[in-house]
Homo-oligomer: 298 residues x 2
DNA sequence: CTAATAGTGTCTGTTAGACACTATCTA
DNA sequence: TAGATAGTGTCTAACAGACACTATTAG
């Protein structure tokens, strides 16, 4: 095996020792982190909180797109895997490790960044709810959780449009886009276009509106057929909490009885119940990592 | 807006004019093309052909992994989008344009390629059946369609193993891997490992066994809930043909009546029937790009 | 007891799966 | 008419959706 020689008579070892990479221009590679969480919102008159979906954005400190909002991220170092870069960026921004992290898509248009050629791989990160204080990096004036909503507008042949709403807690920033998805002849999604809605005061930098849209689409799809939503819940949670998370991600109300029938095989009861509530207490559950076996298949 | 100045007092225009990219080392970026097609195979004794899934592989001409089989691909040029590079490579290898092309995943481990740091974005391409002659590029001794099969072996907690079989038409090359998929605590796929099976004579270069495995997984999933399979069929096809393609991709037999109930809303009848067959002739259909509207939703 | 929320039982309509049947062509 | 494949009808079990009901706490 080692003796195999190429046209120049070199073994693999010799070839690699002599190898010098060409001198052509290379792109910069970055990771973009779509960090989602859910947050409790106390609805007026009721005592059990609703959940809203939040996305972490930074305000850019410098040109290009100065002062505009962007998905946090950074360069992939030459001696670091792309996954590792994603994990590092996530830790730098949120101080969390060991959370759900999934590669989303790689964006490779030539003029995405006016400074230079940048290819960017986006990652979806889900961090469990509750009071995570994000940290603003060097390039950021601030890092803020934005409430995210996405509503389908219309659907005609080969087209689907969505409205995307992002707003900061105090409503000092409000971003609204219309996203149009195009389908091809064989019924598969091909391209998307984003368009800033006229009422909007703020905007997303680069092609980040597209990226946010894709992340939300993926999140919604995965909720339906994977246990991904448990990554947004604390270790122990009530089924009502879980239901609110599902409702937020899916964008529609669910029937309690049906939801519970579906979710029960995926969780195990704990000993604990909610305490000191002025109504029937609620059982706490945890996710059961072995639920696939029990229901076999899938 | 144009008047916005950064800390150095520069407008965006001035900033960009002065901007010089840093001198740090950048990775090379490549695309890997997973080109699939289906091919007719006449089963003994019967007249209607079965379909087998084929994947295009090249035999490497030089180190590293010299003489081993690999997924075709190439570098992304600095003035070319990643998608465009994928389309270009596909055209160079198969002479087809305008076929189904979907980004699969980006592979970013540091030592994927022993020559230098290479980040590679893989694409899934589906070309309609029938007699496509692949072309071997500069780096390839030959380009060959391999029959692909993937069979689930076992499933325990947090693990799933698959066997992967690839063989060339004349069986001069046979490649067999065992792929192990790992799940994390919240039930989501995290990593996969590949292991050459002992009976194998040939092997796949680099981390390509992982990539092939992911492509097959994605293909199987998408067949179930998108009309992706029609991209492997000619413009006009019989429902039996369509069923054979589905069976090949799903790896299990389907009931004719049930398959037809499911597929009929997605297709429209043509005027044509099969001719000169020694049995009842079969209607030709085409894919109906507007089927979503009719069944609304989804 | 009441308000509020947790949790269950059950009907219905739709769909997936299994299977058996009928139809139409050539030789 | 036989052989081969195309195409249909229908039963059943499982499941999703809708809704109404019961249970348990604090005050």
């Amino acid at each position: 095996m080692e003796e195999l020689r190429n046209r120049d008579g070199l073994t693999e070892k010799e070839f690699l020792a002599k190898y010098r990479p060409g001198n052509y221009e290379r792109p910069s590679v970055t990771v973009d982190m779509l960090v989602f969480t859910v947050e409790d919102v106390r609805p007026p008159g009721r005592s059990v909180p609703d959940k809203v979906l939040k996305l972490l954005l930074i305000r850019r400190k410098n040109h290009p797109f100065m002062n505009q909002w962007a998905i946090p991220g950074g360069f992939v170092n030459i001696d670091e895997s792309v996954d590792a870069a994603a994990a590092r960026e996530l830790k730098e921004e949120t101080s969390v490790e060991d959370v759900y992290l999934e590669q989303l898509y790689t964006w490779g248009e030539v003029n995405r960044d006016p400074r230079m050629r940048v290819i960017s791989t986006s990652y979806l990160a889900l961090v469990p709810g509750e009071g995570l204080k994000p940290r603003a990096g060097d390039d950021a004036a601030e890092a803020v959780w934005f409430t995210v909503r996405r509503e389908q507008q219309e659907e005609t042949e080969g087209l689907k449009t969505w409205n995307l709403f992002l707003e900061s807690r105090d409503r000092s920033a409000e971003i609204r886009y219309r996203v149009t998805e195009h389908f091809t002849k064989n019924g598969v999604l091909m391209a998307e276009e984003t368009q800033l809605l006229p009422e909007t005061r703020d905007r997303l930098a680069f092609d980040h509106a597209k990226i946010v849209n894709l992340a939300l689409e993926r999140l919604r799809n995965k909720v339906e057929y994977t246990p991904i939503a448990f990554n947004l819940l604390p270790e122990e949670f009530t089924l009502t909490e879980a239901q609110k998370v599902y409702e937020t991600l899916l964008g529609r109300p669910l029937f309690k009885a049906n939801f519970r029938k579906k979710i029960l095989p995926m969780v195990v009861e704990t000993e604990k119940k909610t305490e000191n509530v002025r109504h029937r207490p609620s059982q706490y559950y945890r996710f059961d990592p072995d639920w696939r076996k029990k229901n076999e298949g899938f």
